[in-house]
């Protein structure tokens, strides 16, 4: 054990590591937004009267949930150009993250909508509100509240998953740290520091969600 830790390269690389954190945030936030859109759209299709649409959603969800994100991101990375879409690694990573997170969001949101009792829907209808109004004014908020804890942990997981986007060299924390590591060979020091960064990032994400929840879901329940 004659190795001495040397954090100098890490300290020198600090500015680029910190800006890379913004890259990670960008990937995470954009990925979440896309995942939410896919999640809501998927739930609507999942309830559709047209059976093939429902099956399509089920197949999509199961394919994504039962394969590794790394394989998904490779597949999308190589598949997008074939469809004529040329994108940089970073937008490609956002799409992959959105698709992956979307599959989980579909299942979570569906559970939330189902958790709202049929009576709430009926009470709204009996008051003369339209279906759309009932969904928007009566179902949505309690449903979101019910699923918010699972949505939070899923989105924190999505934030951590952004590190895998380094495999296609998207701009984020892990790929930047790999560059510093290969320049300095101070592998442990670099990765240890970056691990702490991630801990802070995921903690910040959780605080963000908790704040939102405290503001938006402030009504009491039994």
């Amino acid at each position: 054990m004659n190795y001495t830790l040397d954090f100098t390269p890490v300290i020198e690389g600090l500015p680029s590591l910190l800006t890379a954190c913004l890259g990670t945030f960008t990937l995470a936030i954009c990925g979440m937004l896309l995942a939410t859109v896919i999640g809501i759209g998927g739930v609507v299709l999942r309830q559709s009267k047209i059976a093939p649409l429902r099956w399509l959603v089920i197949v999509f969800v199961e394919l994504i949930r039962n394969t590794p994100f790394l394989v998904q991101i490779f597949f999308i990375y190589f598949a997008l150009p074939l469809t004529g879409i040329r994108l940089d690694p970073t937008p490609t990573a956002i799409i992959a993250l959105g698709i992956n997170g979307g599959a989980y969001a579909i299942e979570i949101i569906r559970g939330g909508v189902q958790s709202i009792s049929k009576g709430q829907m009926e009470a709204g209808l009996a008051l003369g509100l339209h279906k759309g109004q009932v969904f928007r004014l009566i179902i949505l908020k309690p449903a979101l509240r019910a699923i918010f804890p699972s949505l939070t942990s899923q989105f924190v997981l999505l934030t951590l998953t952004t590190s895998i986007a380094s495999a296609i060299s998207a701009y984020e924390l892990t790929s930047v740290s790999q560059r510093i590591e290969s320049d300095s060979f101070r592998s442990f020091e670099v990765y240890f520091t970056v691990t702490i960064f991630y801990l802070v990032i995921s903690w910040l994400m959780m605080r963000l969600f908790a704040l939102f929840s405290a503001r938006y879901f402030a009504y009491p329940v039994k």
Partner: protein, 213 residues
């Protein structure tokens, strides 16, 4: 893609299965310890294990593998990449499973502990004979869900440089320039491993939910 290439993928698959199995079995043993410490009732120990769990749940698995891989080398333990990955996956699994089973232990009604204390059962008997059987049953669906997550997680060993299924796919894809075919097949192989587990987990969850009513 020819027969040889496919065989190469299958060899990678074998290592994926091996890594998953080792990570899960060792992770279960370590996770049990974590869960027991986390519910031990001793404040400092509970705090420490909570920190351990938060550390692993708050950082990417990829970073965990990197740190373990280079950290072990640092303290003078020379290891193959696959052994280092196995250690990393074990630690990762111990934290997640520890948290899942803590939830299970706390979900067992209080009266069970009180009744077994009233019967003068020792701590070990209380855990082994009364609490754990119920707690593990409650957390079985989540445990299976985590196993699926772990199998998918082994794919990150490829980034550390170990040739399991995903890295085998990378190598073949670079040889024959058919990335979509190769990663399609690799994805299907993962799917074949994970989907039955997912379905079984969902079935158990429904069954437990029905019997709870």
């Amino acid at each position: 893609m020819g027969r040889d290439e496919f065989l190469f993928l299958l060899i990678g698959l074998k290592w994926t299965v091996a890594l998953s199995a080792i990570g899960f079995v060792c992770g279960c043993l370590a996770g049990l310890v974590i869960a027991l410490l986390r519910t031990s009732g001793m404040r400092p120990i509970e705090r420490a294990t909570a920190g351990y769990i938060a550390l692993f749940q708050g950082t990417p698995l990829l970073m965990q593998l990197f740190v373990v891989y280079y950290g072990l080398a640092l303290i003078g333990i020379k290891m193959d990449a696959w052994a280092a990955v196995a250690v990393g996956l074990t630690l990762h699994a111990s934290a997640y499973l520890g948290e899942i089973w803590r939830g299970g232990i706390e979900a067992v009604p209080r009266g069970q502990t009180e009744a077994s204390k009233a019967l003068a059962l020792s701590y070990s008997s209380r855990m082994k004979d009364v609490l754990l059987p119920q707690a593990l049953r409650i957390s079985l669906p989540a445990t299976i869900g985590f196993l699926v997550q772990l199998i998918k997680g082994t794919s990150l060993a490829s980034i550390v440089g170990f040739t399991e299924l995903t890295r085998a796919g990378n190598i073949i894809s670079n040889q024959i320039f058919q990335p979509l075919t190769v990663f399609g097949i690799v994805g299907m192989l993962y799917f074949i491993m994970c989907c039955p587990l997912t379905i079984y987990g969902a079935y158990l969850e429904r069954k437990f939910a029905a019997s709870a009513r």
